[in-house]
Amino acid sequence: MSPYDPFFTSGPGILASRARDGRLSRPNAPGGDTSSVDGTADLPASAARRVTALSLRAVTRRYGERTALAELTLSVPAGQTLAVLGPNGAGKTTLLRLLATLLAPHGGELVVLGHPLPAEAWAVRGKLGLLGHEPMLYRELTARENLRLHAKLHGVRAERIAELLALVALERRADEPLRTLSRGLVQRVAICRTLLHDPELLLLDEPRANLDPAACEIVEPLIGRASGKTRVIVSHDPAGALLEADLVLGLVRGRAKIIAPSTGLDPSELAELYR
Amino acid sequence: MPALPLHSAGPYVAGAYVVFFAIILIYVAIMATKLVRSERTLAELTELARQRHASQDDDPQ
């Protein structure tokens, strides 16, 4: 059933229920889960419950008559890293957007951080960070202004912005419009945006693209294995992916060709995907 | 002269009804072309199915 059931219980219900309370009255309004957002440790209760961070069962997503992602079954324990490989148009970005609650699955069950999607999508959104090809930042605004907007969207206190800008060594250029910064610097600001609300799950779409080696050094502790967060990395370099990932998913035309721990795999098998 | 004893306003009334039925008939004509296209696709597919069936009869695995 659609996630917006409460609005459609009765015809006039649509308008009445929206008008009554300004904030979206979801069936299970937030408040149950009280893990704080300011980077302090998660409450033990909710963390223990979420041993497996991601669990997908026969998740399907269609684009009209074409299937973008077909019957994907997979589960990633918390703290581990999943590498997603495959040719262009294989459904990698679709998978990432599904996990990021930007797309609703057309079939199968998708549970992210213990919350079934799309029913409890609002609960997950505060706990995941997506770093896509698009920086998702306004080019005309400065880094600080963009991050202040995203801080307000996530209900995060402002001091966190300065903290993160320091971590990615961008304090000096934080007050210039993004359009004057190079792609690499914008990518660093995007990384700050992704980590602003200290997400438990990182969804990274070729994170090291446009980053020079020095920048890679700087961001490694933030989005690398050292960060200790559950990560899903989409990348095109099989060798690099093997080093970083615990689990590898090979996608071809929306179907999972390879699902295996990274230890038993060698790059030649992965190269097979791109044939 | 017109067959029916139409009044002075006759042409307008006739015009209105003619326009109405013309539109309905144009609609039916468009649907007819769609029907022909469907029929052609169906013929194509039955032909394809028959070939598929025929090829299976020749070399049943």
């Binding site: 917006y4 609005f7 649509i14 308008l15 929206r18 008008a19 300004g22 904030r23 979206l24 937030p30 408040g31 889960d33 009280t34 893990s35 957002v37 957007r97 990021a100 609650t101 930007l102 797309l103 609703a104 799309p118 609002w122 609960a123 959104r125 505060g126 706990k127 995941l128 960070g129 997506l130 896509g132 698009e134 920086p135 998702m136 930042l137 306004y138 080019r139 005309e140 605004l141 202004e145 202040r148 907007l149 995203h150 307000k152 969207l153 996530h154 209900g155 419009p177 945006r193 609300h197 | -």
Partner: protein, 229 residues
């Protein structure tokens, strides 16, 4: 993770939108120039030096409506092209906060335009002195702008992620705005009466207020479906 309060989200979005506009100046100046040019066009088109009564209110409101279309077309442009939608959808904030922010942004644009356009109209084309009509005019302007802003924000969101966005925006919003135009034009006509400042016809004000409220509720109910995929 408690979702942030909607009011602070709306305020943040509005501040970002207005800062974007102040930094790029892409909508409001264009609307100023368009409004003044339109008055000149009407002067040559109607070949009249002075306008009054319902002709004057018609010219004013048609100009404001068409100027608003410029803003409606550009309202979601930055979000669509620079991934603003995804950035917003990733946050647990309430979806309709974006609609509320966009409605207020459009209202700010319209007020900014009217601050310039109405006096210029008074000087260029309006025969009766503007001063006498001003108090009533402000009320009608407020209600008219609200209608334009609500429908503009909803239709803008509908049109922005389509191939023919610059065409669909105006094509869909204009018929929806005709009742607003009808009400505000009829309400403003007596204000511009050359002989004596007519009283404000409350019937039209109430109608446009109800129209705004109805489509406001509808926009809030439907907006979610335009964003989620």
């Amino acid at each position: 993770m408690t979702a942030p309060r909607t009011s602070s989200v709306v305020a943040a979005l509005l501040r970002a939108q207005l800062r974007l506009e102040l930094r790029t100046f892409e909508s409001v100046p264009a609307m100023w120039l368009f409004a003044v040019t339109a008055f000149v066009l009407f002067h040559f088109g109607l070949d009249r030096d002075q306008l009054s009564g319902d002709l004057a209110s018609g010219v004013l409101w048609v100009t404001l409506l068409l100027a608003a279309l410029l803003a409606i077309n550009r309202l979601y442009l930055a979000d669509a092209e620079q991934g603003g939608f995804d950035g917003f959808l990733l946050s647990p904030a309430d979806r309709t906060a974006l609609l509320a922010a966009k409605v207020m942004t459009l209202l700010c644009y319209l007020v900014a335009v009217e601050i310039v356009a109405v006096p210029v109209f008074g000087v260029l084309l309006l025969q009766p002195p503007l001063g006498q009509a001003l108090p009533g005019l402000l009320a009608v302007l407020a209600l008219g702008d609200l209608g334009i802003a609500v429908i503009g924000a909803l239709v803008g969101a509908l049109a922005i992620r389509t191939q023919a966005r610059d065409l669909l925006g105006p094509l869909v919003s204009l018929p929806l705005l005709v009742p607003v135009l009808l009400c505000v034009a009829r309400a403003t006509a007596p204000l511009f009466d050359p002989l004596h400042a007519g009283t404000l016809p409350l019937r039209w004000l109430v109608t446009v207020a109800l129209y705004d409220a109805l489509f406001g509720l509808l926009a809030f109910a439907l907006f979610d479906f335009l964003l989620e995929d």
